[in-house]
Amino acid sequence: MQRIGVFICHCGTNIAGTVDVKAVAEALSHEAGVVFSTDYQYMCSESGQQLMREAIREHRLTGIVVGSCSPRMHEATFRKAAAAEGLNSYMVEIANLREHVSWIHKDMKEATEKAIILGRAAIAKVHLNAPLQAGESPVTKRALVIGGGIAGIQTALDIAEAGFEVDIVEKSPTIGGKMAQLDKTFPTLDCAACILTPKMVDAAQHEKITIYAYSELEAVKGYIGNFKAQIRRKARFVDETKCTGCGICTEKCPMKKAPNEFNMGFDKRGAVYIPFAQAVPKVATIDADYCLMLKNGKCGICSKVCGAGAIDYKQQDEIIEREYGAIVAATGFNPIDAKVYGEYGYGTCPDVVTSLELERLMNAAGPTNGTLLRPSDKEHPHTVVFVQCVGSRCTETDERGKPYCSKICCMYTAKHAMLIREKYPDTDVYVFYIDVRTPGKNFDEFYRRAVEQYGVHYIKGMVGKVTQNGKQLRVQASDLLAGEQLHINADLVVLATAIEPDKTARSIGTMLTASMDTNDFFTEAHPKLRPVESPTAGIFLSGVCQGPKDIPETVSQASACAAKVIGVLAKDKLTCNPCVASSDELLCNGCSSCEKVCPYGAITYTDKEFRGPNRTTLIRRVASVNPAVCQGCGACTVACPSGAMDLKGFTNKQIMAEVDAICK
């Protein structure tokens, strides 16, 4: 039997003005288990807390009920006071007599009655309270960043600057991501390479950062503070430690038929290659799909010309294992495949390109050395048509497109249109738009400049069909404001294709037990208040893997994400919320119902031996909850048919006791 103390706060007249506090304290003093009951002017004050502490000592109280303001205000205060007297914090319950009683009711009699009932409910609960201990777990002071685009680089740099070790895992041979492929960046039009490559070098040179390029995440185990990751270092067939990046092998390689993915396939590269001049790490990679030596054992030229002796045709994939305290997903995006939009002629008409392809066609380091030439005949286009929202903003059931706005297309299309008009004033540029969406600092001004200063023709309407018409493209479109159907003979059509999360995101999300939405974007712990954290503790989100973003937004989110990671790594030990779920192994069926509804992946199963009848042992699969990962929502407790799963601090019996007390 608990020895319960009841403390009714007047809150000045806030409570006492409507509730007869003395009557409440008196009524509750007769409840079973209550050994002390009193009222006081301000329980939260220093002297109020003192009163409580004395009562705990004097009456050897094992449980406390405070009738006061909302627990959201002062629960922590009273818990601390109880703890100071050696009573477990979780033996304190609050009856909310202010927000839920005195402030909303006027009739003293009724308010007093309600206050007594709420007091009884709190007493009923305290009877079933058990002391709870917040657990602690150690923290490995190292972070893993998955993805080496601008998001991953920025997050890694910020974490490293705070003094913690960071590993970047990047699946391509170089870090840099999509930004490395861009020509200029909006709204300032500075060159992407000029601002990105110094950061890539910083990352490479930082003593706290290790870059595992051409590597992929293989498996992850563990929980916040204590992750164990396996990383597959794919065979480059080039010894990274020996290669100097001189590039002689790439020049001498006789097999020059591999499509150059960095240039969106507009030109070819060798079977041994360095993606681009500023690649980090700047080492060669052999593409096993094309290398003659690897395919049929004949060639070996690169090995002969390599002065450093870095070529190693026998290299194998290597799996390394590392421990981390926090993991950052920065897996980025890709444009969707525009081939599904056959009506725009992509894939059948060579002069229909995507915006990312156009970036390469305009980039000084691209296949045309920065001169805008159309792919079909390398001629300069005189009429260029941009189509916005290709695959964005589609209805949920659309099989070809995405339901969301890709967010960056309006701005980069304005940029493209502007750059073309600036470099080639003899070009007519049309942009077909549904809406022009330019929220962002200096964004709308930028778009207006494209229209007003550069004379880009913005037309409200959509393109319906693009067909090849001799050397030109016939573009059939609507001009909704003029009520016309337009037929434009264009030389180049550029599709602003929707962006989607990288294909690897889904499997990485599964490994991390980080939840994802139906579009494969990572879900944030709270859409407003915790936007850079995954609901799974210790997993953080950086960049477009969480949702479409432009570069400035990506960089700010990357830094915010770093701050959250530093917050974890800076601690030596993590305190866990003790109000977590726990499973009674004797009752658990191991049916996995709870696991399915857990947003945190906190539940795992093990086969355990149990004593059966007649001295037999039975092996049963039972659930166990990792208290460091569980956040205490309780979804599992209802999913569990056997009642094995319960939530500490809000147990089935506690809640039913409150129900009973209220309905009495």
Binding site: C591, K596, A644
Partner: protein, 315 residues
Amino acid sequence: MQKMMEKRALELLADGTVSRVLGWSAGEFPYDMTPAVFETAEELQDGFVYNDFCGANLSKYLIKESRKEGKILVFLKPCDTYSFNQLLAEHRIIRDNIYVIGIECYGKADVEKLKAMGLEGITGIYMKDGEYTVETVYGSQTVKAYEAMAERCLACKSKKHVVYDELIGEDGEVVTDCNRFDMVEQLEAMTPEQRFAFWRGELSRCIRCNACRNVCPACSCEQCVFDNPNSGVAQKAAVNSFEENMFHIIRAFHVAGRCTDCGECSRVCPQNIPLHLLNRKFIKDMNAFYGEYQAGEDPDKKPPLGTYTLGDREA
């Protein structure tokens, strides 16, 4: 059929594929077919029976049986395979220790219906071409299948085996127009007062014998919440209407999304309470609200209560 099954079982026992056979044997009455485990060829030859009274779903017994030493052979009708799959998805049975023979089924007979037709001294039954031949001590007699078939079989949802190692007889198809929700719809069409009266009329007969729970393949908890004194809701016998309602609502809720609609609950109810109508209500609602879902059909598909979509209907 019985001959083929017995022959195959003997072969599998003999070649050591399995060490035990889970099948049926005659109970107190020849029409009262009871699940039984046979460990030797002799036991099998003596006791094994299969006929159209063998309605019992054997899958639940595998929770215990598949954890024992050696492999066990089990005969599963199409509807039983759904329960089997569901138990598999819930990790309740160990697949490696089980050899499943799927057996064809065209509907089991309800002995009560036969008795009501005046048949006495029933000793056996088999179906051929849409007719049951009922053997009695007074000779055999044929009855139109649909006149004597169990209600649940008349509304059979599937003649397809969703899991098996081998088949005896033919595999069928999912029955798309089984009309199994007709009665639920009729109830839904009533006024709340009529519905309340209907269910009071039914549930007030409940004697809390727990037969429904004990036979149900989804009710396989180590300890039922209603038996657990620490659960706060333990009740051994329903003392009043509330407790009757409580037990059956919570039972239906606990099996919602897991119940394969095998109909065993109603089959075994000594008070003939149509308990399957509670489960079917949940199944029908889940289909209507969240898309078609058949428990046990595809172990990889997420159950309706284990997932959600952003656009779900409001409660």
